[in-house]
Structures are given as structure tokens and as C-alpha cells.
Symmetry: C2
Subunit: 516 residues, 2 copies
């Protein structure tokens, strides 16, 4: 038994059974140990952002962490942007990074870099394990850190000699000690109850832990009893929704629309969410989206027991018997003719199977999709959280692995889909039931809007060249073929409906280029 065995045994002994990996030489003993320690499913990504994005998607759907396996500082670096998204999603990730053998570091070999310094801006917890004997305790500490509410990124650095050195005795298993999230103190609940009873226009802003089915039910009772509204941040890790579920209104991305939505709110109760802020600063527009003078009350911090706080609030309001408003079922007729965003939304709403998982990175094309699908069959909707684009294809791989038997639908933009397209290979290798729709409008369409939103002079040809994804057009059907994913192109609503229906009934991955 060596440090690598100890690492894997400690991970699996603490309930981590999936590892997304892109290893190199310094991780070879860990790779070899996979055939000697049972219980770890290892999934290869061809790029490290695929690995970390999949771990994020896995955590969002499984509610527990996966591990990653990355190769030194540059391998970690390639995975950072999706760790940023994971942190903003409150996803638990045990991020394992190999390093040179400890005695080799001082030679400054080509791949040497400051791994801890690289990890720190994108991790809640960073530790380098010094030797094989320490691996078990440090791995358990990483698991505990990752699983500490609301879910954190824990980066554990494992030098090659810590992995390969023999342990003289099999170490006793080390159990991760995960602290329970603290209960919200009563005064915070009472204050929230008093606010909601006051009759002023009030809203609950529901963070990612409050938008799952059970806490949404409770929030729906509170809303029904008090007339308060239910909002979610523009970026939310996962919303459980569809016919029969309690609907929650997402705050829109465009600042003017967000400000208009919140204009008459006087009291805002934060439920594991931060105050609403604009995604970017725009000259002459506010950074805060709630109107000046809004009274903001924090019912629960994200690291507290958020669902428990909602239940306590409901009970303080005596709303246990209230019946929440629920979304009705609505299956629109399949549209025909030229493609529009509304028709795409109708196709989705009509054909979405029960218990689908939607991973949404549809940016400008998808502005109406949440509204369009409010009455679709019950499903989960995953949204960008950290704003780093390219997350959807990797995230979908992890979400699918966490959700066997459920269909994953990726709503992808052609700009965003170009950041980590090699995730499609993992969809194919693992034969995941993922249907990817790529909305090919041949541009960074959002930037064309943003150029005027920030008050920049209308772009000339050089600016336009940086927002144009044509010259040459990207052929998404060929891209799918590259990675062994069946692909097709839909140029009309009829074609889209036919191809979506076919894609949702066939096993394995599939891609549709939606030509806009």
C-alpha cells in the first residue's frame, strides 16, 4: 500500500465514487492504483476545464462532491475557470492536483510553478500533503472542507513521492468530519416574519439551496400566506421547476429589466442569497438592482441551514396549512416555419421529458426559455453561476453521470460552446444521454448589445470582427462527428421539433445545430 492507494481508499471511504481526470506523469501512481482500490469510477476529460466543469455539474445534481485529478500547476490552471463557476454555484468539489516529487521541486523543472498560489483564488481550502503517511488525514480534511455548507472547492496537492512511497502499515480509515450547517438564530426568523406580515411589497430572494423541490414548497407556502414574491438570482446553480412545482421568477440579466422587476419591492428577504447586483457595471446604471431605500433582511446566510430557516419562517408565520401556487401544465403545439427563440422555447416545452436536466448557456437566444418552459414536464434547470462561459458541455457530462436515467438537455450558444468543445468526446465515451442544442447565430451576439450598453461608440469593422463568428462559419455537425456524437442541422422549426424528438428518444449523446 502506498500514498496513492491511501488517497483513493480515503475518497471512496468517504462516499466519493466518481473522479473526473486528466492526469500526467506525476499522477501515474494514482492512475495505477485505480485498478487496485475498488469503488472509484474514473472519467477522462481531454482538457482540464472539462474535468472541473463536470465535477461542478456532478455536485449540482448529486448534492455531494466528485473528485478531480489534474496535472501540476498548468493542468490546474486550465481547470480554474470552471472552478470559479463551481465556487459561485456553491458546489462541493475535491480538487486533486499532482505535483513533482518533493525533492524534485528545487530543480525548477519546466512544469514547476506555484501550485498553491494558483489554486488559492479559486478554492476555499488549499493544502499540500507532505508525505504518504499524511495522505489519508489530508484527504479526509479535503472532503470535510468540500462538504462544509454550502459546498466548497477544496484543493489537495499530492506530490508524486507522497503518492508512490510505500506505507509500512495499512492506515486506519479516516472519516471526514463534516460540520452540520448552523441553524439560523430565532431573531432572524422573527424579523423576517414581522417584515412579511407588514403588508409592504416584499420578496424572498432564493439562493441555490432554496430552489430545490422541498424548500421551494415551503417558500411557496410563505408566499401564499403573505403575498410576497419569490425571486431567484440571475445566476442560480439549479432550479427545480416545471408543471406542479412552485414557480420562482429569475431576475433578468439586462439591468433595465431587472430594475423594473424589482422597482416596487420595499422589503427584500435574502434566503441563502446575496443582494442582487448587476452582472457588469454600465455607465449611468446602478450596480445594485433593488431600488434605493429597499430594506434588506438576511434570513439565512448560504453557510447556514437554509431549508431549515425557510421551514422555521413558515412556522413562525403559521403558514403550515397554506397551499402554494404551482405552475400549471402547458404543452404548446409544435410550431412550424422559420426559427425564432419563442418557437425554440415552444419545442422545448412541448417535448421535454419528465425529470429532464436542462443545462442552460443559451445567453441571448435563450432569454425567454425559462418563461417558455414554465409549464413543461417537471425538470431541473441549471444556470451559469460564475459567468465564465464554456461551462455547459462539461457541466452536462457531470450532471448526466450524477443523474442516471434522466435526460440532459444542453442549451448552448455557438460562442460559448467553442471554449471547451472537447467535452463532447466525454459525452460519447461515457455514452451519456445528453442532447445538445447549439444556437448558431454566428456571433458573440451579447457583445453587440453590450457594446452599446456600456456607451461605447458603435463599433467599426475592427470591433465587429471581434464579435463575428463567421468567416469561416463553424460547422457544428462536423464537430459532433469529430467526437463520435451523432449530429444534425435544423434550419426550420419543423426540423428542430423532429430532431429534438428523435434525439430525446435515442440513447447516448446527440447534437443539433440550430441555424439561426
Amino acid at each position: 500500500m502506498n500514498g496513492a492507494h491511501s488517497l483513493l481508499a480515503t475518497l471512496t471511504g468517504n462516499g466519493i465514487g466518481v473522479c473526473f481526470a486528466n492526469p500526467g506523469t506525476s499522477e501515474m501512481h494514482i492512475v495505477a492504483a485505480l485498478d487496485q482500490v475498488t469503488g472509484m469510477r474514473c472519467v477522462l476529460g481531454l482538457f482540464e476545464g472539462v474535468v472541473t466543469g463536470a465535477a461542478d455539474g456532478y455536485a449540482r445534481m448529486a448534492g455531494r462532491p466528485a473528485a478531480t485529478l489534474l496535472h501540476l500547476g498548468p493542468g490546474l490552471a486550465n481547470g480554474l475557470s470552471n472552478l470559479h463557476n463551481a465556487m459561485r454555484a456553491q458546489s462541493a468539489v475535491v480538487n486533486v492536483i499532482g505535483d513533482h516529487a518533493t525533492y524534485h521541486r528545487r530543480y525548477d523543472a519546466p512544469l514547476t510553478s506555484d501550485i498553491e498560489g494558483t489554486a488559492r483564488p479559486f478554492s476555499h481550502w488549499v493544502r499540500t500533503t507532505p508525505d504518504a503517511a499524511s495522505v489519508a488525514a489530508d484527504t479526509a480534511a479535503a472532503v470535510a472542507a468540500a462538504r462544509t455548507a454550502p459546498g466548497r472547492v477544496a484543493s489537495l496537492i499530492v506530490p508524486a513521492d507522497a503518492a508512490w512511497s510505500a506505507l509500512t502499515a495499512a492506515p486506519a480509515p479516516v472519516q471526514a468530519v463534516v460540520p452540520a450547517p448552523p441553524r439560523v438564530p430565532e431573531p432572524a426568523v422573527e424579523t423576517a416574519a414581522r417584515i412579511l406580515r407588514s403588508g409592504h411589497p416584499a420578496a424572498l430572494l432564493l439562493g441555490p439551496q432554496a430552489t430545490r423541490e422541498a424548500p421551494l414548497e415551503v417558500a411557496g407556502q410563505i408566499a401564499a400566506a403573505t403575498g410576497s414574491r419569490l425571486y431567484s438570482p440571475t445566476q442560480n446553480a439549479r432550479i427545480t421547476r416545471g408543471a406542479g412545482r412552485v414557480p420562482v421568477q429569475r431576475i433578468p440579466y439586462p439591468v433595465d429589466q431587472a430594475v423594473a422587476l424589482l422597482a416596487d419591492v420595499r422589503d427584500l428577504v435574502l434566503v441563502g442569497a446575496k443582494p442582487p447586483v448587476a452582472f457588469f457595471a454600465y455607465p449611468g446604471k446602478p450596480s445594485r438592482l433593488d431600488p434605493p431605500g429597499t430594506r434588506v433582511h438576511e434570513l439565512a446566510r448560504p453557510d447556514q441551514d437554509v431549508p431549515g430557516a425557510l421551514t422555521a419562517l413558515r412556522d413562525a408565520l403559521g403558514a403550515g396549512g397554506a397551499v402554494p401556487r404551482r405552475a400549471g401544465i402547458s404543452r404548446p403545439a409544435l410550431p412550424g416555419g422559420a426559427l425564432t427563440p419563442a418557437k425554440i422555447g415552444a419545442v422545448l416545452s412541448a417535448l421535454m421529458p419528465p425529470d429532464a436536466v436542462v443545462v442552460d448557456e443559451s445567453i441571448t437566444t435563450g432569454r425567454s426559455f425559462l418563461a417558455d418552459t414554465a409549464g413543461a414536464a417537471p425538470h431541473d434547470w441549471i444556470l451559469p453561476t460564475g459567468g465564465s462561459i464554456g461551462y455547459a458541455l462539461p457541466c452536462a457530462a457531470g450532471a448526466a453521470i450524477a443523474s442516471p436515467g434522466r435526460r440532459v438537455i444542453v442549451l448552448e450558444s455557438d460562442g460559448s460552446g467553442m471554449y471547451m468543445p472537447q467535452a463532447l468526446w466525454t459525452h460519447a465515451r461515457e455514452q451519456l444521454d445528453i442532447l445538445t442544442l447549439v444556437f448558431a447565430n454566428r456571433g458573440y451576439q451579447i457583445l453587440r448589445h453590450e457594446l452599446s450598453n456600456v456607451g461605447a461608440t458603435a463599433g467599426g469593422p475592427r470591433a465587429e470582427a471581434l464579435m463575428d463568428l463567421g468567416r469561416p462559419d463553424i460547422d457544428w455537425v462536423s464537430l459532433a462527428r469529430t467526437f463520435g456524437v451523432p449530429g444534425s442541422r435544423a434550419a426550420t422549426a419543423d426540423e428542430l421539433a423532429r430532431q429534438v424528438a428523435a434525439g430525446l428518444s435515442a440513447p447516448g449523446p446527440r447534437l443539433i445545430e440550430v441555424a439561426l
Copy 2:
């Protein structure tokens, strides 16, 4: 005039005429300014690693920096691995990163992160410019830092309001003050001369500044006069070579071969290079590649005047009249039949046009390519420096833009080529004369070797699954089509020769999948 105009005017006023970019909302004023400030060619990459890798390739061939334009912390993060390679190549890069408006940072919007902390492990110089009035001076300081010998990565963070705020007066142009590299002190030259006169087996280890044509000529005279050998590190940014050039022996990657090559060296003179070290640690093998007891003398540090030190050494040795050994021309006959690495090397050597630029990331397939092409038409050979794979396709884009009229040949592995394949789109958009050969052996072949090199138990099926790039096979011809690059597949040496000849005679990019 605003801060964005000031940024671009200062860059172009200091000789930076190319910017590789993947901008977002916070960079929109800089994008808009491209149409108002003349002299900046802006090249779009669909992923940030393409942007930074291209800047590295540009610097290696142009000998001066390009700028980048990246989007906040996660955009920077996606570009870090190729900045690592750039640092190890001693490439000058002015790395420009947009940030939220200064007043917006405290709201912790989704894309907020510690940008300076993210940049620091992969930059020699980091600064956040505070406001529009400071942009010119800070930009000039970034250029000066980047151009300080031997070439550095300077990261300049530009908040959105520093870019968009108006300047009351057009600022005076600020000139970057670039310190000249210090001359090597005479005692260092005299010591080296004494060592080389001693008659013991000696070698010069030539860093990246010593392997260009002119300093290599001088090194060749020193070698001819003293019998010393010329080596270059395994990883070297650029070697000018081919028929008529002074040959230099690259230290091989496998530790045993490197140790054998250096076994009888008694004196090692470092010429802008570090002592030779193993790429990775392997149990029971040395980290240092030169034999124990070797006397190591540093003639010149990389930040000193390396070519000047070589000239001073030659003159101290009175070797100004010596005639260096030069590589003879050797054009092998075109091979036929089944493909082997040696036949691929012969095709390259036979068909390489004069002044080609070869970007080599061929890993296991290409172990013999340097030897195979020693007598090819004169060319430059670019090697991996930092060991972060995926650099070749981005690097080639920058190298091609820096080298108009020269043909760029990429020798790519199928594992490495999957990290940043979207670089091919930039090849197509800019219609760069880049011929890419992908050696498709359907595996991380090097890891299969490394698994046993590090002494891990032979891999079982789980380990093997992490080194196998089949299931499904990657279709590189479809990948090329995705990005508008003409592609073909060669399964025999005859087919390869025909396709390489055709690819080198047609303008624009082309890709050949070499089926191994």
C-alpha cells in the same frame, strides 16, 4: 479620448502592433477604440489559451511582444497555461486583462475574482491601473517590463471605468524605457575561456537566446576552436537550424538517454541556460542530468547579454577565425509503404521549404524528428518550453503572423491537439500558411511509457482507459472541416508525402491526420 484610446495609442506608440484577443463586456471600450486608434491588428481567438499561446509564438518569432486582451479573472485563468509556456520560453508578452469598473468590485458580481492573485504565479510583472489618467504610464511600464531581458510576461489589469473615462487632455505619449541587458563581467568570460582551453571534455549548454543564427555561428567557432560540444536544453524556445547552420544537440527527454549523452562531460558552461534537469522525478533516477562532479560554470544568466557573452568568449579564445562545423544538406528520397516515425521524418526533411517554421509538439512520435531534419532546408524549430501541452496550434498562429511569407509546419500529437483545437479557426480566419500534421496514435502514448518509468504496477483496464484516446476515435479531418480548414488523412508514407507536398504549395491552413 478615453483610457481605452490611451491604452492602444501607448501600445502602438511603443511598437506593439498585434493584439490577440478574446474580449467581453468589460473590454468593450477597448474594442470600440480599435476603430479609432490606428496601427493595431487585432486577432480573435475563440478561447483564451489560443490568445496567450499565439502571443508566445509571436514573441518567439518576432523577437518583440504582442499584446493580449482577456476578460476578467476567469478569462485570464483560461490563458494561464500558455503564459506558463511563454515564461519558460523567455517570451515577451504584454498581457492585458479587463476588470469590472472600480466602483463595481465591492458588489462581488459573479465574474469577480482576485485577478492580481491569479496573474501573479504566471507573470513577472503585475499591475492594476487605477484610472484613465494612469493608463498611458502603466501601459508603457508594462511594455518595458515585458521587453526587459530576456523577455517577460507583464500583466496589466484595466478596470472598465479606467478604459471608458474621458481624459480631459490628450496625454503626452509615454515611451517605454527598456533597460539594456547588462554585459557579462570579464571574469565570467575569462573563467569560461580557461575551462574550454583545459582540454577536458566540455560542453556549452545554449539557452534560447543562444540558438538563433548569429550567436550559434559564434558558438560554432568556439566549439571548432576548443573541441567543446554544443547542447541545448530539452525544452528550448527556438532553434535556428538546417543545412548550412551550426548544429546543436538537444538533450533528450528520456532521463536514461540524457544521462548517457552527458556521461563524459566534465565541464559544463551555461550560456543563458539553467543546469540540465529531468522533466519529471522518477524513483531511483537522478533529478540532475549532468554527471555528479561536473563543474558547472555560468557564462551568462538569461537576463544578461547572452549573444555578447558568446562573442566575448570567442574573442578571449582567439577563435574569431575558426570555421564552425555546419550541417550538410540532406534530402532523403521520399519513402513509401507503411508509416513509421522515421519515414515521417524523411518526408519532412525532403519537403520542408526554405525558411519554414516548425512548431513541434509531436511528443513520442517525434523523438527522431530533430535528427531526421538536421540537413533539411534552413528553418526554425520551436519546442515546448513549459511542458503544458496544447501549445502548438495556438503558438503556430502567432508564429505565422510574426513571419509573413514563411511556411509554418505544426507537428502535433492527438492527445496534445485536443487541449486547444479551436486555434484552427484562427488559422482559417486569418488564412495563415500553416500546415498541421496530427500524429493519431489514439492514445496518450507517453503516459503508457511513463507508467512503467515511474515504477507503477502495469496498468489494469481502469488505468488504460485514462491513456486510451479511442472509444470513440477522434476524427481529425472532421475537426478541420469544423473550422474551415481543408483536411485529409494519410495512412501510408506515399499518401503522406503527396499530401504534405500539396499542403505546402497551397496558400492558407491545411491539416493532415497521420493515421499511425
